[in-house]
């Protein structure tokens, strides 16, 4: 693939900024946690399963999601924490299905260990439910071919990468990520689009993810 070949449609990078809104809901044990996980808006499930990806973009090794972290560090229930941390987020195409999986994981664990239901967190260490308010804005960065796309990919914020990979896939229920979609439909390179779609974004820090995507594009264009 010639990286300078003009794409059918240009790709405009968007940026996404997030503000945390407090819901006023808090859980001090697993029973309450489960109750509120069922009640809160999906934007809160999103916040607690994705916050660590944004806030700890460079932290290596990466901490687990908020539920797993609280169960591990506050309730000291390492078995359930491990089960929650190892939920394969990418397998769940919607936040509703991800929520169902979290509920099922906690319910199964509680059915085996009913005494844990009301084991309380120490005072002041409750789980506080927060939801995310997201703002999406077009940036001035526009790529008309793969070469420009790669150069801009080096410049954009991690928030922007986050938007095109995670936000598009899960929160907005688009199925794939924006980069793969553009490369397939406008650049016409399905193989490269698939290679990028195959990446498990949840096992990378965002900076690492940026580097890997750039490498895959560069490799694919040099190969030809």
């Amino acid at each position: 693939m010639n990286s300078f070949a003009t794409a059918r449609e240009p790709f405009r990078f968007y940026t996404r900024m997030q503000l945390a809104e407090l819901t006023g809901l808090k859980a001090s044990n697993l029973e309450e946690l489960l109750y509120y996980i069922k009640q809160v808006p999906t934007s809160s499930i999103y916040q607690h399963t994705h916050r660590y990806l944004q806030q700890h973009q460079y932290v290596s090794p990466e901490p687990p999601n908020d539920f797993a972290y609280w169960v591990s560090e506050t309730l000291k229930e390492s078995e359930l924490a491990e089960e929650l941390a190892s939920i394969d987020t990418i397998q769940y195409p919607t936040l509703r299905s991800l929520r169902e999986k979290i509920i099922l994981t906690i319910e199964n664990h509680l059915s085996l260990h009913p005494k844990l239901r009301q084991k309380n967190a120490p005072d002041g260490h409750d789980f506080y439910f927060v939801k995310s308010v997201n703002f999406i804005l077009p940036t001035n960065y526009v790529a008309t071919n793969l070469h420009e796309f790669t150069e801009l990919l080096k410049k954009i914020t991690l928030d922007s990468i986050y938007f095109h990979i995670f936000e598009a896939r899960l929160r907005l229920e688009k199925g794939t990520n924006d980069f793969s979609r553009w490369i397939e439909t406008s650049v016409g390179d399905k193989e490269l689009a698939d290679r990028i779609a195959q990446l498990d974004p949840y096992t990378h820090t965002l900076e690492h993810l940026r580097g890997t995507i750039i490498k895959r594009i560069t490799y694919s264009t040099v190969k030809v």
Binding site: T15, M17, Q18, L19, A20, E21, L22, G24, K26, P41, S43, Y52, Q54, Q55, H56, Q57, Y58, V59, S60, P61, E62, P63, Y69, E73, G124, H125, D126, Y128, V130, K131, S132, V133, N134, F135, I136, L137, T139, N140, K155, I156, T157, L158, D159, S160, R171, L172
Partner: protein, 403 residues
Amino acid sequence: MATIEEYIPIVGQAVVDDLRLLATRLQGKSILNVNSTSVGGGVAEILTRMLPLLQEIGVSARWDVIKGGNQFFEVTKKFHNALHGRPTEITAKDFDVFIETGRANIAEMQIDADAVFIHDPQPIALIQKKKDNNWIWRCHIDVSNPNREVWDFLRGFISQYDAAIFSAPQFSQELSIRQFLISPSIDPLSDKNRELPESTIDKVLEKYGIERDKPIITQISRFDRLKDPIGVIEAYKKVKRYHDCQLILAGGGASDDPEGIQVLEEVRNRAADDKDIHILLLPHNDIEVNALQRASDIILQKSLKEGFGLTVAEALWKGKPVVASNVGGIPLQITHKYSGLLCYSVDGAAFAIKQLLNSPEYARKLGENGREHIKNNYLLTRHIRDYLLLYLSLIHQQDIVYL
């Protein structure tokens, strides 16, 4: 004062581009901040640095200060203590003084901005000037366990606002209005946080007679029981049995604070004649604080209670491994075992310090992760972005906003 361009080498071009982009969505809108003092205190410090940057990116932002006499500020100091949950006697006259000063400011101040950010309780009564503009109450205090009488009094004002902002999730309260989580920030270009030449660090150490011949463990905080300086010395002594190290306990002057003088005395007694404990009563000098933090191998923040605990952010920003209590806003800054170590007790603190001294590579990694965490989440540029987003979220009330 630093310009927005000077932040680019630290946070990246795209972060500043994002701020400029947001500013375009607020064109024609004006923002007013109101607090109770133009100098001294964390709020004034943040506004002093934030306002010029907001104006530079094209946001019409102003800052105004309410007026109040000694009596008023004595009352608000009592309110402050009561909101922190300290036993405080509040009288009916105190409420009268508060209301009366509020009334005088309402009569005198011109408030015609589109968005009004009111900081802390002192100017809260100004809400009575609300028209069809947006009013936001920004609470900088730990109100997780407030005196109910004072809180209920304030709640009458707060419920008239459009939104409230708290610094940590556990500070939020049951309120009828929207509540947002916006943490405070540090300024990477301020004297307290900017890079320092080694020669400056050496000079400060020399001034206080500290040599770098053994690991330095430091806690920077005023001499206050809530910062647990005695606990810090206990932890150090437990570590000292196994590692030859030294301790710096450094904090601001306490001349107007009788309790501070007493605590300082207790700390000196507890340190006794250990030449490796350096108790420094610092003048207000940000460069010296910066130098001491940079000279340290490990930073401690063993507070029993903490608002947000920005000294933790300052230490992490300098890439230092931090051992800190799991209280207030500290767990937002430190994810245990990823970007620092959290503890609950003297023994826990001592154990964590020993771990770090035994594993310098692990300590280095925690410091590195901590710095990145602060860079992404607790610098002034993020704080500015959150304020702009908050205002936008009051104009556009959905969970996903396309601008």
